[in-house]
C-alpha cells in the first residue's frame, strides 16, 4: 500500500501526536507523517515562503488538525486551507478535545472533511484513529488535478 499521500499532523501536544501516530501505524498506514507542533510552522510549510501555497501545488496531502494551538486557532488554518486554490481539495481531519456541537458545525461549514473528538476513553480514541486509517485507504486524493 504505497500511497504517495503525505500526512501533515498539526498538533501541539507531543503526547497526542505520539498516540495518533502510533494508532495510525497500528492500523497499517505507513505514509510519511510530517509533524508540526505550532500553527505558524505548519502554515509556513503549507503555504510556503510567499504564502500562496504554490510550493505545495500538485502534492497529495492530508491534514490532521488540532483546533487548540498555542499560537493560533486551528479554525484559522482550516479556513486558509479551504480558501487557497492549491490546497482547497486537501482533505482535512479535525482532531480536538472539543465536542461542542457549535464548533463541530462551524468546522464542517468551513469545509473540514472529518471531525474527530479526542475522547479520554482510549479505546474509542484508538478506534477513531484506526478508522481514519481505513478512511485513508479509501480516500482518493486528487493527484495534481488542479
Amino acid at each position: 500500500m504505497t500511497n504517495p499521500v503525505t500526512i501533515i499532523m498539526i498538533e501541539d501536544d507531543e503526547g497526542h501526536a505520539r498516540l495518533i501516530e502510533r494508532n495510525i501505524r497500528r492500523s497499517g498506514v505507513n505514509n510519511e507523517i510530517v509533524p508540526f507542533t505550532s500553527g505558524t510552522s505548519a502554515v509556513n510549510y503549507l503555504f510556503g515562503k510567499d504564502g500562496t501555497g504554490s510550493e505545495r501545488k500538485g502534492q497529495a496531502l492530508l491534514v490532521l488538525l488540532d483546533l487548540n494551538l498555542p499560537d493560533m486557532t486551528g479554525i484559522d488554518i482550516l479556513k486558509r486551507i479551504k480558501e487557497n486554490s492549491f490546497l482547497k481539495s486537501t482533505p482535512v481531519v479535525v482532531l480536538t478535545t472539543t465536542d461542542d456541537s457549535q464548533e463541530i458545525k462551524r468546522c464542517y461549514e468551513l469545509g473540514c472533511n472529518v471531525y474527530i473528538t479526542k475522547p479520554v476513553n482510549y479505546e474509542s480514541f484508538a478506534n477513531a484513529i484506526r478508522q481514519l486509517g481505513l478512511f485513508f485507504s479509501v480516500i482518493k486524493v486528487p493527484e495534481a488535478a488542479s
Binding site: G15, K118, V120
Partner: protein
C-alpha cells in the same frame, strides 16, 4: 404652627376690636346721655321760668291766657322733673342735687298755687307779697343755683365722657390697624415661607430625579459588570475544563499503552521463567491474549501492576466525568432561553411516561395533580422536573412502594410546584449541601456525580425562581420549585453568546 399663631392673633384682634367697639359705643352712648340730661335740665328750668313769668303776667293782667299758660307750664314741670331724676338718678351727686331741686320746685309750685288763689280772691297785694317773699326767700334763686350746679356737673361729665369716648375710639381703631398690620405681616411671612418650602421641595424633587437616574445608571452598570463577570466565569470554566481534558487524553492514552506493555512484559517474564525452570513449554504464543501463567512473586508483581493501572484508569474516568459535567453546566449557562407558554401538566406527564419503565422497576407510582401553566423555557423546565422526578425514583426506601406526587399552586405571580416522595429522605444538615456541585448525601449506593441538583438549581435561578427542600431522614422529601408565571426573558437573557 405659623398658621395657628396667625389664627390666634386674628381671633385676639377680633375679640379686642369687638370689645373696644362696644366700649366706644357705650362711651358715646354715655356722651349722648349726658347731653340729653343737660337738655332735660334746661327744659325743666325753662318750664319753671315759663310758669313763673306766666304767673307774673296773670298777676299783673288777670288775663285768663296767662293763667292757662301758667297751668300748662306747671303741668309740664312735674313730669320733666321725674324724667330728669330717672335719667341722672344713677349719679349720687346729681341725685342729691335733684332732691334739692325737687324740694325747691315743690315749694315754688306751692307758692304759685297760693299766688293764683290770692288773685282769684282779688287780693293782688297778698299775691305780690308772696312773689316778693319767694324772691326774697330764695326759692327761685335756689332753683337757679341748683340747676346751674347740675348743668356744671353734667358738663363736667360730658367733658370726661367725651374724652373717654375719644380714647376708646382711638384705641379701637389703633387695635384694628395694628391687627391688620399684623395680619398683613403674617401673610407676608407665610407667603415667604410657602415659597421657600416650595422651592426646597422643587430642589428636593430635582435631586430625587437625579438620584433616580443615577441609581438606574448605577444598577445598569452593576448589572453589566455582573453579567460580564458571569460570562468571564463561564468562559473560564469552559476553557479550563477544555484544557484539562488535553493532558487527560495523554494520561489515559499512555496508561492504556502501559497496560498493553504490561501484557507483553509479563508474557515475556512468564516465558523466561518457564525457560529457566525448564518446564515443558506449552505451544509458544498459542493465544496471544491469554494470561501468562505466572508463579509466586511474579504473579504478585503482575497483580500489583494491574491494580495500579486500574486505579489510574478509574481515576481518569472519574475526572473525565467531572470535567464533562462542568463543561455541560457552562454550556447550559450559555444557552439562550426561549420563553413560551407551557402546559405544565402535559410536560410532567411526558416526563412521567419517559420514566415509566424505571417507575415500574422501582414499584413506584407517579401522581400528578392540578398544575398552573406558565411561560418559560421548555427545555429548562424539562431538565428541572425530570431531574427531580428521577431523583425521587432513584432514592426510594428499599422495600416500600414508591409514591411520588407532583402538585402545584400559584402565589403572588409565582407558580409553586411541589415534588413529594415517600423515599429515604435527606438529613437536615445536608439540605444545602445537596445543591452544591459534586456533593451528595446519604447512603452512596446509587451511581451519580452530584450534578443533577446543582444543575437544577442553576436552571431555576436563571429562570428567576428558587428551589428548596423540606425533608427528614426516612420520611420522604418535598422539593419545592417556585417559578415566575410570566418569565421575562429580556432581563436575564440579553447576553449574546
Amino acid at each position: 404652627m405659623l398658621l395657628t399663631a396667625g389664627f390666634l392673633i386674628l381671633v385676639a384682634i377680633s375679640i379686642a376690636s369687638v370689645l373696644l367697639v362696644n366700649k366706644a359705643r357705650n362711651d358715646s352712648g354715655w356722651v349722648t346721655h349726658t347731653v340729653e340730661a343737660e337738655n332735660q335740665i334746661n327744659a325743666l328750668l325753662l318750664e319753671i321760668r315759663r310758669a313763673e313769668s306766666a304767673a307774673r303776667g296773670f298777676l299783673l293782667t288777670q288775663s285768663q291766657d296767662f293763667r292757662r299758660d301758667h297751668e300748662t307750664a306747671v303741668a309740664n314741670i312735674q313730669p320733666y322733673a321725674d324724667k330728669l331724676a330717672q335719667m341722672i338718678g344713677d349719679n349720687a351727686a346729681q341725685a342729691a342735687n335733684i332732691k334739692k331741686l325737687r324740694t325747691a320746685i315743690d315749694t315754688r309750685l306751692d307758692q304759685f298755687k297760693r299766688e293764683i288763689k290770692f288773685i282769684e280772691q282779688n287780693d293782688p297785694a297778698g299775691a305780690s307779697a308772696l312773689v316778693l317773699d319767694a324772691a326774697a326767700g330764695g326759692t327761685a334763686i335756689t332753683i337757679r343755683d341748683v340747676g346751674a350746679a347740675m348743668r356744671i356737673e353734667e358738663e363736667r361729665l360730658l367733658a370726661t365722657r367725651t374724652i373717654a369716648a375719644d380714647r376708646s375710639q382711638v384705641m379701637a381703631s389703633s387695635v384694628t390697624i395694628a391687627g391688620s398690620g399684623m395680619v398683613i405681616a403674617l401673610a407676608g411671612v407665610s407667603i415667604f415661607l410657602v415659597r421657600r418650602s416650595s422651592r426646597a421641595r422643587d430642589e428636593a424633587e430635582a435631586r430625587l430625579r437625579d438620584a433616580n437616574l443615577n441609581l438606574e445608571f448605577t444598577v445598569d452598570e452593576r448589572t453589566a459588570d455582573l453579567r460580564e463577570a458571569n460570562d468571564e466565569i463561564q468562559r473560564f470554566a469552559y476553557i479550563v475544563s477544555h484544557d484539562l481534558r488535553s493532558p487527560l487524553v495523554n494520561i489515559m492514552g499512555f496508561t492504556s499503552e502501559l497496560e498493553e506493555l504490561r501484557g507483553d512484559i509479563f508474557r515475556r517474564i512468564a516465558r523466561l521463567g518457564r525457560v529457566a525452570a525448564l518446564v515443558p513449554s506449552a505451544p509458544e504464543d498459542a493465544t496471544d491474549g491469554a494470561e501468562p501463567a505466572l508463579e509466586g512473586a511474579d504473579k504478585q508483581l503482575c497483580e500489583d501492576f494491574s491494580e495500579a493501572i486500574g486505579f489510574i484508569k478509574s481515576s481518569i474516568a472519574r475526572m473525565d466525568r467531572l470535567i464533562s459535567a462542568i463543561l455541560n453546566l457552562t454550556r447550559e449557562g450559555r444557552r439562550q432561553f426561549a420563553p413560551e407558554p407551557i402546559k405544565m401538566r402535559e410536560l410532567i406527564e411526558n416526563i412521567g411516561s419517559s420514566v415509566a419503565h424505571q417507575a415500574t422497576e422501582a414499584d413506584a407510582q407517579i401522581r400528578i395533580g392540578a398544575l398552573p401553566d406558565i411561560v418559560s423555557d421548555r427545555l429548562a423546565l424539562e431538565q428541572i422536573f425530570s431531574n427531580l422526578i428521577d431523583n425521587a425514583l432513584k432514592y426510594l426506601r428499599p422495600g416500600v412502594p414508591g409514591d411520588i406526587e407532583v402538585r402545584g399552586r400559584t402565589k403572588l405571580g409565582f407558580a409553586v410546584f411541589d415534588i413529594v416522595d415517600n423515599g429515604r429522605g435527606i438529613d437536615a444538615k445536608d439540605h444545602q449541601r445537596i445543591f452544591d456541585l459534586f456533593r451528595r448525601a446519604g447512603t452512596q449506593d446509587k451511581p451519580g456525580q452530584g450534578i443533577g441538583l446543582a444543575h437544577v438549581r442553576a436552571l431555576v435561578r436563571r429562570l428567576g425562581g428558587t428551589i428548596s427542600v423540606n425533608s427528614e431522614l426516612n420520611h420522604g422529601s418535598t422539593f419545592t420549585v417556585t417559578l415566575p408565571i410570566q418569565w421575562n426573558a429580556s432581563v436575564r437573557n440579553s447576553r449574546n453568546d
